[in-house]
Amino acid sequence: MSDLRALWRSGRLWNSPLGGAFEPPKAGDHMLGPIEKVDCPGRRYREDEEVDAVIVGLGAGGGVMLQRLAKAGFKVVGLEAGPFWDTERDWVSDEAGSHQLYWNDLRITGGSNPLTLGENNSGQGVGGSTVHWAAFAPRFHPSDFRVYSEDGVGADWPISYWDLKPYYALMERELPVSGPAYFPWGDPHGYPYGPHPTTGVPDVLVKGCTALGIPVSAGGPVAINAGAHNDRPHCIYRGFCIQGCKVGAKFSTLVVHVPDALRHGAEIRDRCMVARVNMGKDGLASGVTYFDADRREHEQKARLVIVCGYAIETPRLLLNSACPGFENGLADSSGTLGKYLMAQAGNVVLGRFPELIRMYKGPPANSLTEHFYETDPRRDFARGFAVQTVAPLPIAFAKQMATALNAWGWGMRRVMMDYNHWATLGVLGEILPWADNTVTLAEEKDSFGLPVAKVTFNLHDNDKKLMHFARQKVEEIMWAAGAEQVVQEPRYAHLVGAARMGSDPRCSVVDGFLQSHDIANLFIADGSVLPTQGSANPGLTIMALAARTADYVTAERENILARKRGSRHAPPMRHDLSPQGTAGHGVPRLKGLAPGKKDPLRTRI
C-alpha cells in the first residue's frame, strides 16, 4: 500500500498523458479553440475603395454587427485595436500570463470614487471584452426600460423590453446560453441549454439563499456550453473563464460571430487603432483614419461608420474627432456625449468556511439571484441588485484580501494558505446614470499622439444606500451558508453609458436604432448607448441591441447607404442572419407576460 502511495506521490504515474502527448496545432492553422479553425484572408478591399460600412472595435456589439452586415451582403471592414487571437498559441491557462487580454493602454481615473480599469472591465483584441467576461448572460427586466417613469430617477429607454425581447431569445440560442428551464425574474423565460453542475462557490450561494428563503438560479444563465455545440466543445470546468477560454466552450464573438463574418466576406484588420471619424462637407461621416500595426496612417472610406469601442473608447474617439462644425466632438449637439457613464456596484463578499471549497474549479459565473432586482418601497433607495457567484484565482484573491483584511506580510501569507477554504459572492448593483460621471479627454497622450480618456466617477446618495444594503444582504447569505468569517471588498463591475440612446435629441446621442441624432450615417453599437444598466450583466443586452440595429440597417439598406434616415419603424426580424447552426429549436416556449402585468410568482422580501 505504501509502495503504491509512494509511486503515486512520485508523479511517475501522472507524469505523462495516458493517451500520449497532445497534438499541437498545425502550422498555418488559425485556431479558435481546440477544434475550430478559421481562414484569415488578407485584404479584400483596396486602400482607396469605399466600403458600405466600417466598424470600429470588434467586441460584443462590433462582432455581432460585423457578422450580421456581412451575411446580409454589405461590404464591411472591421478595425480592431488589439490582435486577432489564435487561442491555442496566444492564450495560456495561467492567471498572470493572460494580462494581454485587457486594455492596458493608459487612461486616467479620478473622481470621488475612481474606477479601476484594465483587467477589471476592458478588453483589447478581436472579441473585445467577450474573451474575458465571466459570461453571465441574464436579460434586463422590463422595468429597466422605464426607470424614470416608474421610479422618477435615471432615464427611460426609447424602446421597451418587448421591442428587445425577440432579440434576447435569438441571442440566447446563438451564444448559446445555458441555464434553468424556468428563470423566474423579470420576464420569466427558459434557456436552450441545460444548467451547469454547481461547484464549491455556487453551493455556498444556493445553501445560503435557501436557508434565508431567497429563490436562486443554479447553473446559469451563462453563455458557456453545457454540451458541445458546432465545433465548440462543452465546458471542462477549469475555471479560467476570465483568462480567455482556450476550450472554446465559453461564448465570445471571437469564436461565434467572427468566423461567420469571415465566411461571408467581412474583412478584419487587427492591431489597427482608429484615430478619428472623418467628416465630409455634407455634414456626414466619410470614413475613419487609423494607424496600422506598423504605425502607418491610413484612411478607410465608408458610407456608414459604426462605432463599437465600448463606454470609454467610443466617447474618446468621438471627442477626438472634433472638427469644424463639430467643435465639441461628433454627435454631441445634446452635450451628453461622455456623460452618464455607469459602472455597477460589484462589492465582493468573502467568507471563510471550515470545510474546503477549492473555488478555482468550475466557471466563476454559475449561480445568481435576482430576488432583490426591483425597487422595493420598504427600502430607502430606488432600484436594486443581483447576487452572483465569483471565484477569483490566487492573485486576484490576494488583492481582495489586501483590501478586505488589510492583510500584508505574514498575515497575507497565512490567509493565502487558506485559499481553498474561502468562497466569494458578488453584488451586482444598479448605480444610476449621473451627469457628473464622465469620460473626457486628458492632457496625456498615447503613443499615437491621441489624447487619452479621463474617467471621472462619483457615487451619489441612492448608490451608496443601495451598496450598503446589498453588501449586508450578501453578508447575511454568506453567514447563512455556514461561513465562520466574513469580509468584503468594495469594487465596481462593467462599464456602460457615456453615449446614451434616447428619443429626445436634446438629451441623448443616438436613437432607439442606435443611429446618431446628429449624423445620419454614424451608428454606435456598444454598451455606451445604455441609458440605465439594471442589475444584469450588460453583454447579452449589448448584443441584442446590435442584432436589432443590424436588422434595421438591413431593412433600410437603400436609405441608409444613401446616407438618409430610415423609416424609424421596427424592422422585420431576420432569423436567417444568425451564424450557421446557432438559431435552432428546442427552447422552452414560455408565454410572455403582457406588458405591465406582474408575475404572480414574484415575491419580495
Partner: protein, 259 residues
C-alpha cells in the same frame, strides 16, 4: 534550529511550544503536492510561459543597485519568505523590475498618483526618509520589526515623514501598488500554488472532482499544521480588521469606502 539563525522578528514559530520553525522547501498544508509535476498535461503555450517564469529570472535593469538593495529589503517584509529555504524562495524583485523596465502598466493611472515608474522610485525615497525620521538609519540597516513599523505607517495612511512626496502621491495607493506588484510576482509562481493547494493550469486536462472541495487524483488532501508569525512581527495581525462572527457582534468593515 541553530540559535544564531533565529530572529524573533523573522522566524515563524509553533504557537503552543513557542519553538522556532525550520525553513522548508514547501510551506503550506499540501505536502508533496507539485503543480510543476503536472506539466505534461498542460498545453504547450502554457507550459512555455510557466517554465520561463521558473527557470529564467530576469536581470535587474530598472532599479539602480542602491534602489534594488532597498527594494529587496522592502519586499522581504511586504511578503516575507523566511519560512522558505534558500532554494525555494520566489524571486519578487526581478519580476517587479522587469515590469517597470518595460513600463507594463495596468491600463490606468489614478489622478492622484504620479506615473507608474516615478511612483515606485518616489516610494523608495519616502521609505528611507521615514526610516531616517524614526530611527536615524537607512531602511536596510533596520531590524525586521522596525522595518515593518516603517511600512505599516504607509499602509495605515499615516506616514510620519516624506510629506513632500505624499503631497503628490497618495500613501494608500502607493501601498496598494507595491503590495499588488509583490502579490502578482509571488502568487504567479508554481511554488506558491503548491503552498496554497491551487490546481494550476488545467487545459487540456480538465477537473473531474467538482463537489465538496474534493481533490483531483493528482492533488493532495489538506494536512494542516500549527504555525504562527514571528513573535515580534506586526504584519501577522490582520485579524484585528476582521468582521467578527455575528454572535459576538458584527462591526461594519473590510476596508470601508471604495477604491
Amino acid at each position: 534550529m541553530k540559535s544564531q539563525e533565529v530572529d524573533p522578528a523573522r522566524t515563524p514559530v509553533e504557537p503552543t511550544t513557542g519553538q522556532y520553525l525550520e525553513p522548508m522547501a514547501q510551506p503550506g498544508y499540501y505536502p508533496g503536492y507539485s503543480t510543476l509535476g503536472q506539466q505534461a498535461f498542460w498545453d504547450a503555450a502554457t507550459r512555455r510561459v510557466v517554465r520561463r517564469r521558473v527557470q529564467e529570472v530576469p536581470p535587474i535593469r530598472f532599479f539602480t543597485p542602491a534602489e534594488a538593495r532597498l527594494m529587496q529589503a522592502v519586499l522581504d517584509r511586504v511578503l516575507p519568505q523566511d519560512d522558505r529555504d534558500e532554494d525555494h524562495k520566489i524571486p519578487l524583485l526581478p519580476r517587479i523590475d522587469e515590469k517597470l523596465y518595460y513600463n507594463r502598466i495596468d491600463g490606468y493611472r489614478y489622478e492622484d498618483m504620479p506615473p507608474y515608474r516615478e511612483s515606485h522610485r518616489l516610494g523608495l525615497v519616502a521609505i528611507d526618509n521615514i526610516a531616517a525620521h524614526l530611527h536615524r538609519q537607512h531602511f536596510v540597516e533596520l531590524g525586521a520589526r522596525e522595518q515593518e513599523e516603517v511600512l505599516q505607517s504607509i499602509q495605515s495612511g499615516n506616514p510620519p515623514a516624506a510629506g513632500e512626496i505624499w503631497k503628490i502621491m497618495s500613501p494608500q495607493r502607493y501601498w496598494s501598488q507595491l503590495l499588488h506588484d509583490a502579490l502578482e510576482a509571488y502568487y504567479s509562481h508554481p511554488y506558491a500554488w503548491d503552498e496554497i493547494g491551487y490546481g494550476g493550469p488545467a487545459y487540456p486536462r480538465p477537473y473531474f472532482r467538482l463537489e465538496r472541495g474534493e481533490p483531483e487524483p493528482w492533488e493532495v488532501r489538506e494536512q494542516r499544521y500549527s504555525w504562527a508569525p514571528p513573535p515580534l512581527s506586526i504584519s501577522g495581525e490582520y485579524t484585528a480588521h476582521d468582521l467578527s462572527h455575528p454572535e459576538v457582534g458584527r462591526p461594519t468593515g473590510g476596508a470601508g469606502g471604495t477604491h
